[in-house]
């Protein structure tokens, strides 16, 4: 064996400088990457607030779009869409929260090594990958076949959103349940507490803040869904309180509809400008779209905030 000539492997001044340069370049690129991500975030929030604030008022929140024509008074609002979003989301919760939590209980507590565990787990993954518009088609097809073709109402929307919510809830609940220490379960069994009581009283109780937080975050995720509701719940200009009959506008669909209709037509000779009796506002639809988008963002951010807060404040210390 020859002793290697170590001078060959010694760093030269230029190679060291080149390495330093690469290191610096990558550092700059990595910092830049972060800035690149912040730009759209700031831009989206900024434009939504600036454009949305003009029409974001009590009138806007408490009126629907009934009798709203072109850019003339009445200027319309989102009451019907807010009601729709509330009811459809509640409907989706009623379906997916019990189903999701019980499925997670089954996966964590009952089925550890069974084949059914694998199957369900696999299909939960499949479900979480379903594109939202396909979820809308799913719900639409199902209700069309059962209740007659073209069945479109709030509850169909709820069903579509459930398909998107269930996997999120199952996964987050699963995670929370598996954090609950085994000792706690064993302590309960040792006292002769039956399994179901142990799960309800101890495991679910301990995991509750995490589960609630997961549910809230799941709601925040689906509350902004547009495409499935466009198909499953449609839209309407008046307020519909009945979840099970008739079309129902939701906030995201409202944003889309307003945007889609473009500039408002103004009768010839009418005064143009901002709100006043008899004045026509040509850009009113965009203003409404932005204002509704602002409401939507606020809703999502508040839900996210609450979700995180619940998880943080009520968290059971596991260590």
């Amino acid at each position: 064996m020859r002793t290697p000539d170590f001078d060959k492997f010694k760093p030269t001044r230029s190679s060291l400088a080149a390495r330093k340069r690469t290191d610096m370049l990558m550092r700059v690129l990595i910092y830049a990457a972060f800035l690149v991500a912040v730009i759209p975030l700031v831009s989206v929030l900024y434009t939504t607030i600036v454009h949305g604030i003009t029409r974001f008022d009590w009138y806007f929140l408490t009126h629907n779009m009934r009798g709203v024509v072109g850019g003339l008074y009445p200027y319309g609002g989102i009451l019907h869409a807010a009601v729709g979003t509330l009811e459809i989301t509640l409907g989706a919760m009623v379906i997916s929260v019990p189903l999701g939590i019980m499925t997670a209980v089954y996966l964590v507590e009952y089925s550890a090594k069974k084949r059914l565990h694998k199957t369900i787990s696999f299909f939960i993954d499949v479900m979480s990958g379903i594109p939202s518009i396909v979820a809308g088609l799913f719900a639409y097809s199902m209700f069309s076949l059962i209740f007659g073709p073209g069945t479109v109402n709030g509850f169909v929307g709820s069903a579509a959103l459930s398909i998107l919510m269930i996997p999120t809830i199952v996964r987050s609940t699963e995670e929370m349940l598996s954090i609950v220490p085994v000792d706690l379960r064993e302590a309960a069994y040792a006292l002769g507490v039956p399994k179901s009581r142990t799960i309800v009283r101890i495991v679910l109780r301990t995991a509750l803040p995490g589960i609630v937080s997961g549910v809230i975050l799941a709601i925040a995720r689906v509350i902004g869904e547009t495409a499935p509701l466009l198909i499953a719940a449609g839209s309407i200009s008046s307020t519909n309180f009945n979840l099970f009959s008739g079309r129902m506008t939701t906030l995201p669909v409202y944003v889309y509809n307003e945007f889609q209709q473009g500039m408002a037509s103004c009768p010839a000779g009418s005064a143009l400008g901002t709100d006043a009796w008899g004045v026509c506002v040509p850009g009113i639809r965009m203003e409404r779209a932005w204002a509704a988008a602002l409401v939507l963002i606020l809703l999502v951010l508040v839900l996210n905030g609450i979700g995180r807060l619940v998880a943080k404040v009520f968290a059971v210390k596991t260590k």
Partner: protein, 315 residues
């Protein structure tokens, strides 16, 4: 005795919930197939007429109708992934290895905020803010890279093009890839990072030697999940893109491509029953594509990383 029945009841309820999910998924999938079937097995002439009306008389065959849509879907999402991937890896590294500890949780929150914004808001922002501002950018891109067919002219103004759509889609999938990549990067064994540094590696060389190889599988899997999301995204595409139905690859030219999801949303309100069937059939195609992409992602994750970790814990 009474307690034992309650015990069983609870167990059955839990099991039933799990099975119900399987049942619903299966049923709904069957319903979709039934709803889509008239396109293939029903009145041929009527089906051809419907497809012809969807495509402006261009074709009467379902495959020729859905082909350009598949192409457009893959093109826009692939481009979005290409744009988002490096930025996402950069941000993830920034959070995991460059930013001070206190800052990094705040930064993670900022990234999560990006994920929380509803897609319709991104669509609105893309159509009303980004589109007017991107024209000069695309002109420059065209001037510099115009010799590559992808960036060949003419540059449409307003740029309601695949390129602009891809930018918005990239922003939307950025948080998905970033948060997964960050979770993996912070798990890189300290020992391997120290091994690299002790050999005289710079920070970037340490990342190349220890962090990136450790996270490689996870990055692929994260990209696939991001791609899956982009493939199914409807609103941003619907609100920004000026649709066309060609196999065109000129990203800067409008009215070339359309995606499956946006096409469904655009045509659905006016479609008759056979039209709905056609759209549902195209939705099934989209579902199959996203299923394959997501399946690949999960397979890769199962090989190493989080899922195996979780299984170990259960034992």
């Amino acid at each position: 005795m009474k307690k034992l029945t309650a015990d069983k009841l609870f167990r059955w309820t839990a099991t039933a919930a799990g099975i119900l999910i399987l049942g619903v998924l299966a049923a709904v999938f069957v319903f979709l197939l039934i709803q889509a079937s008239p396109v293939f097995f029903g009145d041929r002439a009527a089906a051809e007429k419907t497809i012809s009306s969807f495509t402006g008389g261009r074709t009467t065959s379902f495959l020729a109708f859905v082909g350009p849509l598949i192409f457009g879907t893959v093109l826009a999402s692939g481009l979005a992934l290409a744009l988002a991937f490096f930025v996402a890896v950069g941000i993830a590294l920034f959070i995991s290895h460059y930013a001070p500890k206190r800052l990094s949780s705040l930064l993670s929150y900022v990234v999560d905020l990006l994920a929380a914004i509803p897609s319709v808001v991104y669509g609105l922002w893309g159509a009303l803010v980004l589109v007017p501002n991107m024209y000069p950018v695309w002109q420059v891109v065209n001037a510099v890279f115009g010799w590559i067919p992808l960036f060949a002219g003419p540059v449409s103004n307003p740029p309601r093009t695949v390129a602009t759509v891809a930018v918005v889609l990239a922003v939307m999938i950025l948080p998905i890839i970033t948060s997964m990549a960050r979770d993996i990067f912070v798990q890189t064994p300290l020992l391997q990072q120290e091994a690299a540094l002790a050999l005289g590696a710079t920070k970037w060389e340490m990342i190349k030697l220890a962090v990136l190889p450790f996270g490689a599988n996870g990055l692929v899997s994260a990209s696939m999940l991001g791609l899956g999301r982009a493939l199914g995204e409807t609103m941003a595409v619907l609100m920004i893109l000026s649709p066309g139905s060609t196999y065109g690859i000129h990203l800067l030219t409008a009215s070339q491509n359309q995606t499956i999801a946006a096409n469904i949303a655009a045509q659905f309100p006016e479609a008759d029953s056979l039209g709905v069937s056609t759209l549902i059939a195209s939705g099934l195609v989209l579902f199959v594509i996203t299923f394959i992409v997501n399946y690949i992602a999960r397979r890769i994750t199962k090989g190493g990383g989080k899922l195996t970790f979780r299984k170990k814990e259960k034992k």
